[in-house]
Amino acid sequence: MGLTFPYTYISCPCSDGSKEIEESRLRPAPLFHKKALAEEPEEDDEEKEEAPFDAHHPRASFSLFPPEHLLYCEECRDLKCPRCSIEEQVSHFCTSCLFETPASAVRSEGNRCARNCFNCPICFSQLSVNNINGAGKEGPWILNCYYCMWTSLDIGIRFDRPTNIRAQLDRIANGGKPKAPSKPTETPDLARRSSYLNHESYPQLSATTNNPPPTQQDDSPKETPLDPAARFTALKAFYKNQLTTTTAANPTHPSISSDFSYSSPASLNRILNLYSTSGSFQPKRKPKPQLMREALYPSEGLLIPSPDAATSTQTKLLSSPTGGFINTTTLSQRHFQTGPAGGNPDARFVDELRPMPAPLTTKRAKRCKECRHILVKPEAKPTSTRHRIKLVALSYIPHVSLRPLLGTSAAGGGASTSSAPSALLYGGDVILEPARPTQWILKLTNPLFDAVRVSIATPAVTPGKYGHRVTILCPQFEIGANSDVWEEALGSKSSDAGGSAGKISGSGNGGVAEAGKVYEKGRNWTSVAVEVVPVSITQPIVEAADKEEIQVREVDEDEDVLEIPIRVRLDWRQGDLDDGANKKARLNEDGVEDGVRELAYWMVLGVGRVKK
């Protein structure tokens, strides 16, 4: 496992010298080092100040994207990444059955599929509905997982019908018993309430109370405690009930109006200061305002944990001598149960888990965060993979590839012998020898129909912990227009670098790695040579652990990866400017539309790992 070398990442310009958060002084290290670039194009001064990009900085992981993740905004004429575009949900659908859920129904279905799509609570793969007898039209039916062989029988659940499983499941508790109603009565009746008064934990008549409610000595059976969903419903009903009695009974109270809206200034007072008249508990209603009370009974959502609850969990934990660990749920299984759609995130043991309705997913349109221009617009239909609009950055910026320059070449400005990393030939990790110069061919291919001027700059020494030396032999060049092949044939330009098709995958022995000179050039591509001298990755801090063994601190996962930050600047003049009606809109600040486009960004090239 590992990275596949070579690779390219692009840092979206939106994080260039990113909008500093006010307390920026607290940052330990800036993402951009204040070091001048080694080979800076002569042009403007402010760019020269720009500090090189440190690909190993922790923040870099958040601003770097594979080029295919990036978009391009034609209004802003800039790259757009997931951080500087805005997403809008277009359609909601289930990835299992590909049915679209109307947006109005998404929430009520808990953001999950309302059909028969379920995921295994153990391994999360898709479940299927099967007849318990293997075949036939008579039930019962079960859900089972072909991957880990879990079935709903493991939690004692079977279904009468093979359809509408979700509704059936909502009414069955684990073990097969009907699920306790999740909607208790909104106003607790006295008889039911009084049965709790005998429990020492629920309200007792305190000595200070002169006006005791009637106590009944009945032995009504103890209710099973409500599950969290039912408790929530009960509490919600309780709060609502307290609020409405307040409003109805106190039309004249200054802090109370009938206006229940969110923006009502009085609302907050009402819920938090909670005035109410005597509610449904006293037979005669007193007009006096009274503070809203707290929940007092289980039917109102109050839950006093029983002393046995913890003990029973522990007993279960201890019960099976070897089963203690495997019968408990993993953290990811618990998280998978999260949501209002019937899971049991408190499940500690596997027999408490519930099959989960498949989560819905969305198709999303994307807009530019700055100008709201639409960048991506997919077709709403779940089965379609087409887009009505999709402005991918790779249609604008050159495609970049890197390959080793094979053989030794002593030519060029003082370049010493170089060797290609042999591992690359076998398609494995690329291993670079420390202190040994290697030469690479960097090739840029132009997707545009216009020729593009390119300047690429890299710090002479890579920023960060390890300063690898990097030299781009030819930092400025042009790449030709991506004219169609037949056009090129008609133009019958003598191809100065041979057939482009052959060159693209060719072994590249036609060029010369020489300072200031392009290595090779094709129809719409140009390649230049890059020389890299890795420094050795030191095994940090040899420390003696408490035992006598000497332990070597491990190198960070990607600390040995050699990555070259490259500042890419592109400019081109847009061709075929017609004199259409919208010419005015095209004018630049000076009132002239010269068709010039510019683009600049940091690119990170992953070359290989330095041998340890």
Partner: protein
């Protein structure tokens, strides 16, 4: 960089790209095609329901108001800090760099209260990425369109709070963001108005006295789930070494699984009804002193211990998993005299918080003790804490003589909330200001005439559905939130604007209502930071 004039010029991209602008092919339109065409995603969904997001140092919970459970719980971890498109961490057989137990944590956290260890830029990056994931994969709604309510700890250093708000306002078009303090929300989620909220969190344990939805007092301890995790790892390693096993290492993820699944807390000696606790037999077997009790009670569990490429079955006594709890939360190995204030054991922290309260508030709070946070899930820890608190009360009563260094603690709190201007501990002034407080009067009157029994004065635990769910309850009642931060004002003035407002216009609420609810009349003019000021 490109000039910023607007232009609709066609570029010289491939013709195929431009097809996009053409009208769609005459497919059968889906049900919502018409609204999709005009403006994708907007307007055809009920956007009224607020989104509630609870932020902690380790977890993020997100969902909609009026629902009993969040849609998702995300944890922060090293895999979330990779580059886009780098999925190595999920590949089978992938091995991450090994970290020493003492280094654990930082990679798995969104922030730390100690800002010296925090790169705020990284906090910004993590929040932005996490929120994007939450909206796109779980909430399935457009970020910024619905109201946002953030449930956050009631003490959050200003730079962190500011970073969170700046990130969210800059990134999305939230019109306003409401802040809700987690201890008060936990009380809401228990159905009570006063409570002693014990939050055994990842990086610290807090005990907050909430009285009539106001925070009266908060005590904190560094004893937390993070320290438990480390202690558990050390204990397990030491045990294996003691058995002569060749223990290479334990990884964070394995330790965390063990903590979530196997850790438990023993009762103290006897169960409340006087029976000998059957669970403590297991404990006897692993006492450091060799026991001659040959009871067959030693229960062992088998776990798959990853070793490089494969795994190895390792047997561990279950009793081992209660030891770290004793040490970390109950401080059974250290005399409390030797402990710093912020190192008090859990029962002592609860006791001291109660002790420092005015008697009437204490009477209410002690009968409404809620346990939330990761540690509340440890079987037996909450009952054991209650048991120990009861012992402390019996031993010391509520005499204040024990409360030696209350003032020190205030100073410590002030340090923690560094960057705060003004009087950070204003809300810890215990007596509420007399007079002119209608609520107080009402409360007293009510207590005098209360027809319904009020449980007070006895130690009692009340189960809370948690801070997130409490906020969901509050929000579903469509009342104005605690601290509403309006977009334009924040972007112009930042938190400084809020602080000024507090000083100028809303002193009464700051002193009389720590949770920040406003009195009728001054709520629309300014927002305040209430407890966060």
């Amino acid at each position: 960089m490109a000039s910023n004039i607007t232009s609709s010029i066609a570029s010289s991209v491939r013709p195929s790209l431009r097809q996009a602008a053409q009208p769609p092919s005459p497919h059968t339109p889906s049900r919502f095609a018409s609204s999709n065409l005009s403006s994708p995603g907007s307007g055809f969904r009920q956007e009224d329901d607020a989104v509630i997001i609870e932020l902690g140092s380790r977890y993020l919970r997100a969902g909609f108001e009026g629902e009993h459970s969040p849609q998702c719980i995300l944890t922060f971890g090293p895999e979330d800090s990779r580059r886009a498109g780098d999925y190595r961490g999920w590949a089978p057989g992938h091995r991450r760099k090994h970290f020493d137990i003492e280094e654990w944590g930082q990679q798995h956290e969104l922030w730390r209260m100690d800002l010296r260890d925090v790169d705020l830029g990284l906090v910004e990056d993590k929040i932005e990425r996490a929120f994007r994931e939450v909206y796109n994969e779980y909430l399935l709604t457009d970020a910024g369109s619905a109201r946002l309510m953030l449930v956050v700890p009631s003490i959050l250093p200003h730079p962190l709070l500011s970073t969170v708000l700046t990130t969210l306002f800059n990134r999305w078009k939230y019109a306003s963001i409401t802040l809700l303090p987690s201890p008060t929300m936990a009380a809401m989620g228990a159905g009570v108005r006063s409570a002693l909220g014990v939050d055994i969190g990842w990086s610290e344990t807090t005990v907050t006295a909430v009285y009539e939805y106001r925070e009266l007092r908060i005590n904190r301890s560094t004893r937390s789930m993070r320290s438990l995790l480390k202690e558990l790892a050390r204990t397990v390693i030491a045990h294996r070494q003691g058995k002569g096993d060749d223990v290479p290492r334990i990884e964070f993820e394995l330790a965390e699984e063990l903590m979530a699944r196997m850790v438990w807390c023993k009762h103290s000696g006897e169960t409340t009804d006087g029976r000998a606790n059957p669970l403590n037999g297991a404990e006897a077997q692993v006492d450091s002193t060799p026991s001659d009790n040959t009871d067959e009670r030693e229960i062992e569990i088998e776990i798959d211990w990853p070793t490089g490429v494969s795994s190895q079955v390792v047997t561990l006594p279950l009793a081992l998993f209660s030891q770290p709890v004793e040490k970390v939360f109950l401080a059974s190995d250290t005399a409390s005299n030797y402990l710093d204030d912020n190192e008090h054991s859990l029962p002592m922290l609860v006791y001291e918080t109660l002790q420092a309260l005015p008697p009437d508030a204490r009477a209410l709070c002690m009968s409404r003790i809620t346990f939330v946070g990761g540690g509340s899930k440890i079987p037996g820890l909450a009952p054991r804490t209650m048991f120990e608190v009861d012992l402390l009360v019996k031993k010391y009563g509520w005499s204040t003589i024990r409360g030696k260094r209350v003032d020190d603690r205030r100073d410590k709190l002030r340090e923690i909330a560094q960057g705060r201007a003004g009087k950070p501990d204003a809300r810890f002034q215990e007596p509420l200001p007399p007079g002119e407080d209608y609520i107080e009067e009402k409360l007293r009157k009510q207590q005098a005439k209360e027809a319904l029994p009020v449980v007070q004065g006895q130690l009692r635990r009340v189960e809370s559905l948690g801070a997130w769910t409490g906020a969901s309850l509050l929000a579903s009642m469509k009342v104005k939130g605690f601290v509403d931060i309006e977009r334009e004002k924040f972007l112009q003035h930042g938190l400084a604007g809020a602080r000024n407002n507090v000083d100028i216009s809303v002193i009464p609420q700051r002193t009389s209502s720590g949770a920040g609810f406003t009195k009728a009349g001054d709520e629309r003019k300014s927002w305040t930071l209430a407890g966060w000021a």
